[in-house]
């Protein structure tokens, strides 16, 4: 009985039925590339006021320094994005071990799972900045928004947190977290905005 049930409870992520994999808009070499990260784990960490315990334990557990300003510390497996005073978004690239990690952190921070609350996408390509400029009311120029910068803002009236990851072979790359419930509206805007550049959508894994 239990086994039978297991097979029926499938995860269905925020992009299901919203995004189709493949090329949208103009044909040819895509100016914009979108990747939908699989298994991205997220949790909000809010530190106890005045405590340095969180800093110590994150360093110890994921090997990253807690950013004290609007930036993100990233390793191959984890990330810590500043998301407000005393508040961070912890991310992990795989599911395994995440709940153990967050329970270890919960002594030093209020931990709230957010992995299902966000629709994540990575935007790169030659025209990535141009497509984001159709929604971002912040400056994403390399000088103003270097690799590792993060911002909480809105695109097309949809609240987002984004950060800039290491440049791809064809220009800057940004990871964007969108409120899950607004993923469809976000994508309606994004797809229309990216269409003129040609946009390739991939879902690895």
């Amino acid at each position: 009985m239990a086994e039978q049930a297991t097979s029926s409870w499938c995860r269905r992520d925020a992009w299901a039925a919203i995004i189709q994999v493949g090329q949208i808009g103009a044909a040819g070499e895509p100016g914009v590339k979108v990747q939908l990260p699989a298994n991205l784990q997220l949790a909000t960490l809010i530190a106890t006021t005045g405590s340095t315990g969180l800093e110590r334990i994150t360093k110890q557990l994921v090997g990253l320094d807690l950013p004290r300003s609007a930036s993100i510390a990233l390793s191959a497996t984890h990330g810590l994005a500043w998301s407000g005073p005393g508040q961070w978004m912890l991310l992990a690239r795989q599911r395994a071990g995440f709940s153990e990690l967050t329970s270890l952190l919960s002594d030093e921070a209020a931990v709230s799972d957010q992995g299902d609350a966000r629709a994540a996408l990575c935007v790169s390509g030659r025209r990535a900045r141009e497509v984001l400029a159709k929604g971002a009311m912040i400056d994403l120029h390399g000088k103003a928004f270097p690799v590792g910068a993060t911002a909480l803002t809105s695109f097309a009236h949809v609240g987002v947190q984004l950060w800039r990851i290491k440049d791809g072979p064809d220009g800057p790359a940004f990871e964007i977290l969108v409120s899950r419930s607004m993923a469809a509206s976000f994508w309606s805007w994004f797809a229309a905005s990216a269409a003129e550049f040609g946009c390739n959508v991939a879902r690895p894994g």
Partner: protein, 994 residues
């Protein structure tokens, strides 16, 4: 017939190797890439382009730019038809189709031409005084007739099929205008390394240099333009934006601009927008928008063939078009002579040059000789002759003698006005400058500098000098260091003396000040006579300076005549100021993607697709779409469906998505204390694993929101809010924590999106849940009583939360799982519930059941009710302080006759209650004096078989059993109702606890 008979054989920036075919008023013509619609029509000898707004007078092309008041046409057809587009800036494309407007039946023969018929009735302010009597005629007769007669083009009758975009740009220096000043500003700023955006509304960069035969550094100006553009293109931080009009200057260095991405093609290419509205954020801005030439006010000055002298040069030099073959120039300054010079260079004969100044420069005299033209020094044009275009002019010479000259083009020049509109957008007032005889920018907004003609420095040398200086200054001010300073280029000689005349007196016939609004010099005089002497009154009374061109060619003459009429100097009369937008902007460009269904983001629950699959009808709740009810085939109306859903819950089990409720994770040592302060009831005693209903007030003592909050662990609570108030409550809590009690250890974050949540309600709900939860969880009534709240697992370890809470009054649970599992949860519940006939229900059934139980919801939590009003006064703890406590105790809020919550049922069970009906005591007149409250919510109760309602009634609870009138003046109905307890079903709560 020769195609394009007025096209010069060579010269200009049109590509004669390619031909574009286009249609105007149904007739096909040819033009070339590089043409505007105006230049192409002029090349084909088409002079008559439209009829004027009020008098339907024939009008042609006056200018060469966006200031054009006359040559307005309807561009394109069908859904893409766009009225009032200016032929002077429409870039020609293959297949272009344009139609003249404001004429009937045709442009050449217009029945509505009122020039000689009723013209005298249409003077300034005519609609205030001419059509006043009889009043009844206004709506039925006068207005429709005037609307037919007056007006501009027709809007398209179909939705715009094109896509528009919004975009945001950031720079260090924004340069507005890519003429000589703008180009050199962009170049110096760009060379320093600054991020520069250079915008120009034209489809080619160069500004007036495209229209003039000038030399820079001893070579044709075009070479300098080309070299400058090449260098700008090589600077990676410089961005040039063609076809982009900066239309507004806003606070903090923010500019609005519209980019006409695909107005120059018939249909935008696939995936491309038609236009893009830009918001540009900049640290410094340089306005290098040039200047607009002024026409001269004289009788017949609106006849097609009367054209600005600078425009004539542009058509000849840039477009290779000769706007006429027999030319007279009428000028008040040196600029008219520049036109003479260029026409001579193009090998054109001139008939005469009329210069209002009595002294003529010897070099000009020599030039006139070469042109073979007569010179009338100290003369003026007093009239034009001809029908649909100029055939001759009457010139009065300095001795007062009149000469009639045959001509087909009259080039007029009366000096230039700086294009300073943007300097006014933050309330800056232009200042009259006697030296240049023009208004120049006054106090500038921070961060803005003005150079070249826009600053009243009209020579090319000044433009180049200003541009270089301002570009460098802007860069230095924001921390860039120019590496080297290039010498400012030299220019050929020029003079720009002018002695403007504001009108030619003595002639007969209408002399137009404002072409677009058909305002004549007489209208200005009339306004002065009738006391409308301030420039602002002049504008409103005469409509001078309104409509698409906003008086760009007319304002100065209007206020100069007003100054003359009132015996003041122009500097004393002042000028009206300008507001955004500088040029008409399509609403589409401001809305961008956000129209129709994309007007604003829609929020969808993680179970949305499942609900849709179940046939749900959705309703908007704030931004959310929620399932309202789930009709089954054969159900004729919503009431049938909702009744079925309610009965299913009351007798079996139902399933409702409640994912949209706000959920706030609150953790920290002081969380219970925090809740004590924001809720009216007590929280410290709430044990772990239990939920409690809470009510919070605003500071003013009125109810803000309600919901259940559960204690998951000692210092970890989960608050729920109503769907509509989730954001507001979060904001309120953040405020309380950050501002009021920063010392409390409280840490909160919204987890609304993380959890999919379903209500499982009805006597069979426990049986359904048993199948879903992992076996280790005991949910018997003893182990999991009413208001239990615990973390559980489903399907072999998936984390979930289970709450035994009920809005329906039945045995009920809410189950929450991570949102990715939302759909799986619904399917699993449906499968587990199918033996019990599990029925999905929506917000309507939810509303019916909460009403049957007397639970308040949005209609009662309307921001005007206190806890006491809602019958929840006893919840207010007297043992602690909380937000709103003192204000809720204000005398007026405690008065016994304040409308208070009651239940209502019809005396006659067949009658339907109406929400919004007002309560009036029996025998009293139904008026506001006797108003005792109103019905807040109603529903048909399937459990009782009649309508029930909640209402707020004076002295309500003490009047149970009394009969009262429910009067609904909106729907014109009245029924008698009985006041009862708001709890209609299961008053003892046995079902809830079962």
């Amino acid at each position: 017939m020769n195609a394009q008979p007025f096209r010069l054989p060579s010269g200009g920036l049109v590509d004669r190797t390619q031909t574009l075919s286009f249609r105007f008023d149904g007739k096909t013509y040819d033009g070339h890439p590089g043409d505007t619609l105006a230049s192409a029509l002029l090349a084909n000898g088409v002079r008559l382009l439209g009829r004027s707004f009020k008098y339907h007078r024939p009008r042609g092309v006056l200018s060469v730019g966006s200031e054009e008041p006359n040559a307005l046409v309807e561009l394109r057809t069908g859904a893409r038809r766009e009225p009032n587009t200016r032929a002077t800036i429409i870039e020609l494309f293959e297949g272009l189709e344009a139609t003249s407007q404001n004429r009937w039946p045709s442009l050449g023969c217009d029945f509505l031409s009122v020039d000689r018929l009723a013209g005298s009735a249409l003077v300034a302010g005519f609609y205030y005084k001419t059509f006043m009597w009889p009043a009844a005629f206004w709506e039925k007769l006068y207005e429709p007739v005037i609307r037919r007669a007056a007006g501009l083009g027709r809007a398209a009758r179909f939705a715009d099929p094109d896509h528009y975009e919004k975009a945001f740009a950031f720079c260090d220096v924004l340069v507005i205008g890519a003429g000589p000043a703008g180009l050199s500003a962009a170049l110096t700023a760009g060379r320093s390394g600054a991020r520069v955006i250079l915008c120009d509304e034209d489809f080619r960069l160069g500004g007036r240099l495209l229209a003039e035969r000038r030399e820079i550094d001893g070579r044709p100006a075009a070479d300098w333009v080309a070299a400058t553009l090449a260098e700008l293109a090589a600077l990676s931080e410089v961005r040039t934006m063609l076809r982009t009009s900066v239309f507004g200057l806003y606070d903090h260095g923010i500019f609005g601009a519209v980019e006409r991405v695909n107005d120059h093609v018939a249909v935008p290419p696939a995936h491309q927008p038609r236009q893009r509205g830009w918001r540009i954020y900049t640290k410094r801005a340089i306005l290098a928008s040039g200047a607009l030439e002024r026409p001269i006010v004289f009788p017949g000055n609106d006849r097609p063939g009367v054209m600005l002298a600078g425009a004539v040069r542009a058509y000849v030099n840039r477009f290779g078009v000769l706007p006429g073959r027999e030319i007279v120039v009428f000028t008040t300054g040196d600029n008219g002579w520049a036109t003479v010079c260029d026409l001579v260079a193009a090998g054109v004969r001139l008939s005469a040059i009329v210069d209002s100044r009595s002294e003529i420069d010897p070099t000009f005299k020599a030039l006139a000789e070469r042109a073979g033209a007569r010179v009338f020094a100290g003369g003026a044009v007093e009239a034009t002759q001809g029908g649909h275009h100029v055939r001759g002019v009457v010139v009065r010479d300095s001795s007062g003698k009149h000469t009639t000259l045959s001509c087909d083009l009259l080039a007029v020049s009366n000096g230039w006005n700086p294009t300073l509109h943007l300097t006014s957008h933050q309330n800056g007032r232009p200042i009259w400058n006697e030296d240049v005889q023009a208004f120049v920018p006054g106090t500038l907004p921070p961060g803005l500098a003005v150079g070249g003609s826009a600053a009243g420095r009209f020579t090319l040398a000044q433009a180049l000098e200003d541009g270089a200086r301002l570009g460098r200054e802007a860069a230095v001010e924001i921390g860039f260091r120019p590496t080297h300073i290039e010498p400012i280029p030299t220019t050929d000689a020029e003079t720009n003396r002018v002695k403007p005349i504001w009108r030619v007196r003595g002639g007969r016939g209408k002399a137009f000040v404002d072409f677009q609004n058909d305002v004549t010099e007489k209208d200005v005089e009339l306004a002065a006579r009738e006391g409308f002497r301030s420039v602002e009154h002049l504008k409103r009374y005469t409509t001078l300076g309104m409509a698409t061109d906003q008086g760009k060619t007319s304002n100065i003459a209007g206020l100069a005549i007003m100054a003359e009429q009132t015996g003041r100097a122009i500097s004393d009369t002042g000028t009206t100021v300008f507001r955004p937008p500088f040029t008409p902007v399509a609403i589409g460009a401001l809305a961008g993607h956000h129209r129709g269904k994309d007007f604003r983001p829609v929020r969808l629950a993680p179970t949305h697709d499942w609900s849709r699959e179940q046939g749900a009808v959705f309703v908007e709740t704030g931004q959310w779409l929620r399932a309202q009810y789930y009709p089954k085939p054969g159900e004729q109306d919503w009431l049938t469906t909702v009744t079925r859903e309610v009965l299913a819950v009351r007798t079996g089990v139902g399933l409702c998505d409640v994912s949209t409720l706000g959920k706030i994770d609150i953790q920290g040592r002081d969380t219970a204390e925090f809740l004590e302060r924001v809720y009216i009831n007590g929280w410290k005693a709430l044990p772990v694993g239990k939920a409690r209903y809470g009510l919070m007030l605003r500071e003013d003592g009125f109810v803000m929101d309600d919901g259940t909050t559960s204690r998951l662990r000692e210092n970890h609570f989960l608050m729920t809010t109503t769907t509509a108030n989730a954001g507001k409550v979060m904001q309120h809590l953040e405020f309380c924590h950050q501002v009021l009690w920063p010392k409390l250890d409280v840490r909160m974050v919204s987890v609304s999106e993380q959890w999919a949540q379903a209500a499982i309600a009805g006597p069979k709900s426990r049986e359904v849940l048993r199948d879903i939860l992992d076996a280790v969880h005991d949910i018997s009534n003893e182990a999991f009583p009413y208001l239990a709240a615990r973390e559980v697992t489903v399907n072999g370890g998936i984390p979930a939360r289970l709450f035994r809470i009920s809005f329906s009054g039945e045995l009920a649970y809410e189950l929450a799982v991570p949102a990715d599992y939302g759909e799986a949860m619904m399917r699993a519940l449906m499968a587990a519930g199918s033996p019990h006939g599990i029925t999905p229900y929506g917000t309507e059934a939810l509303g019916v059941m909460r009403l049957e139980k007397g639970h308040v919801a949005g209609n009662e939590l309307n921001g005007q009710t206190t806890a006491r009003d809602l019958g929840l006064g006893k919840m207010m703890s007297s043992k602690k302080d909380f937000i709103g406590r003192l204000m809720a105790r204000r005398e007026a809020l405690l008065q016994s006759d304040r409308p208070t919550l009651v239940g209502l049922r019809p005396i006659n069970n067949a009658e339907r209650l109406r929400a919004g009906a007002h309560f009036i005591s029996m025998g009293r007149t139904a008026n506001t004096d006797n108003d005792e409250g109103y019905m807040t919510s109603v529903a048909y109760s399937p459990s009782l078989g009649h309508w029930i309602g909640l209402g707020l009634l004076k002295n309500g609870p003490r009047r149970v059993g009394e009969r009262i009138r429910a009067v609904d003046p909106v729907r014109n109905s009245e029924i008698h109702v009985e006041i009862c307890s708001p709890i209609f079903v299961d008053r003892e709560g046995t079902r809830l606890h079962g």
